[in-house]
Symmetry: C2
Subunit: 271 residues, 2 copies
């Protein structure tokens, strides 16, 4: 029935579209605490979490997948607000090569550092700085798969809700606990909580395989170009390196993080 | 002196430019056995290898870096042919957001399967299929860093010389030995050479950490979406999986390959 359908928006100056479009910028996301996702799989995963979706946006002309149509119906029945966009406006809101016709505005989930508590064998990933949002998203996905307790972002420029990061994270953002703090706050928190800081660096003193990790622990990774800051290297209890062969002096930051996290998780479970 | 400089090409219909542009396509690369690279770091690494660079192309208007200028001079003095392109034509030949003004045409290096020989503890990566050229390039870089003996490509669609793969490989292509063969040829080669085949799959029977790898060995990875073919699963001596935690059912293909290769290389060196 018509009255049950979402309103149609096809004017690029419509404030509902302008609000959606503002979430493509860092400023818009920061001001509202919201971000955009697109695609059936992403929206379905976000819908599994309680109260995560703020609103939905649809392009009925491409939403042909029956599962996607059912998902849209279910969200409307649940009372989630939404709009139907013209194909042109919808296209504007996604990086996807083949948009799937269903997207959502999702609430960011941040946990203040004061509420991050260690339990037995807790295990965090701290990201000092990652330049590429795609790498950051892949790192969040990898951290989730390795079973980290949470992710700490030490650099305020590092935006996990950037569209490229959201895409690469493949839905891991919805279940992951994120905390933002400064490197100094992180150091104080780790010291007072008895958390071992393990810095990852090409010049790390120990082969990452040789270290018997102690828990609770936090692995810290630095920027693709510049590595960890002097400050993090100083407050690290250990610095580890991945030995390189051949003519390579480095590997991709997300690959390196995966190699380290899966070694740590394997030691943690006593494999 | 003017006579020592490369000729200027600024017409998009100039056959020298058309030849360069044809190398952006799979057909052009396959017909010639050549491919394109761009950027000071890439060209410098290619120049370290004997007889790898076929020709160079420059955009003097952006080649302001002294090291890059010296590199261009050295290549010209070595007798490497080249052209100077107009900024517009040069831009056409690279994916780089900020082109560096020096690029090269490089010879592909393939080794026939019959010449791939096992030595004590040899260790190969076999790629059955990877859809994203960027992932393929990152995988080649990771394989090089982990110290593989060589890389076998089992799928003729998988092009390591695609511009996105070349960029992500960060120069590892220049020193890596690549072999192309069918999955059947690979199986025959492994059997007759006594090479253990280890298939990587989310449904693998063994935790990748639990297996004591035997050498010589080949790790086989499959496509991001569909994993390994039935044929590869059948001829594998072992299938391994990376255990996933959280809500993830998979990790990025390049990250997974890194986790597996670095475990194998660590066992191989008895760490």
């Amino acid at each position: 029935m018509h009255e049950n359908k979402y309103a149609i928006v096809s004017d690029a100056r419509d404030p509902r579209f302008l609000t959606l479009r503002s979430l493509q910028t860092w400023q818009g996301r920061t001001r509202t605490g919201l971000y955009l996702i697109e695609g059936i799989r992403h929206v379905a995963r976000a819908a599994e979490q309680h109260d995560l979706i703020d609103s939905v946006f649809l392009d009925a002309s491409v939403l042909s997948n029956p599962f996607g149509q059912k998902l849209a119906r279910r969200l409307r029945q649940r009372g989630v607000p939404g709009v139907r966009l013209s194909p042109l406006l919808y296209r504007n809101l996604t990086l996807a090569v083949e948009p799937q016709g269903i997207g959502a505005v999702v609430r960011q989930q941040w946990i203040p550092l004061a509420r991050v508590r260690e339990v037995r064998k807790s295990f965090w990933l701290a990201v000092e700085s990652i330049e590429s949002p795609g790498n950051l998203g892949t790192i969040i996905r990898t951290a989730e798969a390795s079973g980290v307790t949470g992710i700490l972002l030490l650099d305020s420029d590092c935006d996990p809700h950037d569209p490229a990061a959201v895409r690469a994270s493949m839905g891991s953002l919805f279940s992951q606990k994120l905390t933002r703090c400064t490197a100094h706050e992180f150091g104080d928190w780790a010291r007072s909580s008895g958390v071992t800081i393990v810095g990852s660096s090409p010049t790390g003193l120990l082969n990452y395989k040789a270290l018997r990790y102690r828990w609770p622990a936090a692995l810290v990774i630095g920027s693709e170009r510049h590595g960890l800051s002097e400050h993090i290297l100083e407050i690290s209890d250990f610095t580890v390196r991945i030995p390189m062969r051949g003519t390579c002096d480095s590997i991709n930051a997300a690959v390196a993080t995966g190699v380290l996290l899966f070694e740590m998780t394997s030691q943690r479970r006593g494999e």
